[in-house]
């Protein structure tokens, strides 16, 4: 077993364990904290797949911002805060089981069909070199998408503020 395989197994255990703890947590706040564990595992997987920049983005955006946003959203909800932890199962679990089983079946089907035909990215340059290449691409080939992204972020900011201010 190589070092990479060992790290992969550890990251997978972290992701699966956190995901299991998240869906079985009786407090929504605790569930959101476990979700951070899953995000961290995904970041490790990105790095193992030679996508180090995406791994750093995963930590910066998903753990640093999205998880905090979700935690704040939970802390703002009076029905969640200040109440005793809810039941572990609700009436929705048969539907959830059907959905999860369907997704699992699709993934297994794809894995079986793929066989041994796996591709991973070629040995990538280190993160800084990759960022330099990305920056040059942003300023030449992908200049318009780069600027449009700014507009999309602006629309997201104004839209979110309009929705929040109305309530």
């Amino acid at each position: 077993m190589t070092l990479e395989q060992g790290i992969f197994i550890l990251a997978s255990l972290l992701m699966l364990g956190s995901a299991l703890a998240m869906v079985t947590a009786r407090s929504m706040f605790v569930a959101a904290l476990w979700m951070i564990g899953t995000f961290a595992g995904v970041a490790v997987l990105f790095i193992l797949l030679n996508a180090g920049f995406l791994g750093i983005v995963q930590i910066l955006i998903y753990i640093g911002a999205i998880a905090v946003l979700i935690l704040f959203a939970i802390m703002l909800t009076p029905d969640v805060m200040g109440l005793k932890p809810g039941p572990r199962y609700t009436g929705q679990w048969p539907l959830a089981a059907v959905m999860a089983s369907t997704l699992a079946a699709v993934i297994v089907l794809l894995l079986v069909r793929a066989g041994n035909d796996w591709h991973i990215a070629d040995a990538a340059p280190n993160v800084t070199d990759f960022a330099v290449q990305l920056g040059e691409a942003f300023m030449t080939t992908y200049l318009l998408p780069f600027e449009v992204a700014s507009g999309v972020l602006l629309v997201a900011l104004i839209g979110a503020l309009v929705i929040v201010r109305d309530e």
């Binding site: 946003l69 703002l76 300023m139 972020l153």
Partner: protein, 117 residues
């Protein structure tokens, strides 16, 4: 992959060191509890109210704005590290990129989203 060895070592030290301090304190320290010792310590002040309270909505607005500018950082980081290879054109483009988002921040400010009340 080797470049992440330092990161891995840092992660390991970051986990082991706090754990060693907490476990060491737990093992070595005398355990004579009383109600004052067991009370919540918060900067030496008396704690007020319950722990699980509903927070102000301003936190959420701040977090929303933070998410937007966090993503902006991801876009500007590649530009920043490639800065020396790029010309004035790239500087102008990055300023336009940031300017559009500053307009959003200005909008949030004028709408009172940054006010704390």
């Amino acid at each position: 992959m080797r470049e992440y060895a330092v990161l891995g070592a840092f992660l390991l030290v970051g986990i082991v060191l706090p754990a060693a301090v907490v476990i060491g304190g737990w093992l070595l320290g005398p355990k004579r509890a009383n109600p004052v010792k067991n009370s919540t310590y918060e900067c030496g002040l008396e704690t007020v109210g319950e722990t699980w309270i509903q927070f102000k909505v301003q936190y959420y607005v701040y977090a929303l704005i933070f998410v937007i500018f966090d993503i902006e950082v991801v876009y500007l980081y590649p530009w920043a590290v490639a800065y020396n290879r790029l010309g004035l054109f790239a500087l102008v483009e990055a300023l336009i990129f940031a300017g559009i988002l500053v307009a959003g921040l200005f909008y949030a400010w004028r709408k009172g989203a940054l006010a704390w009340f």
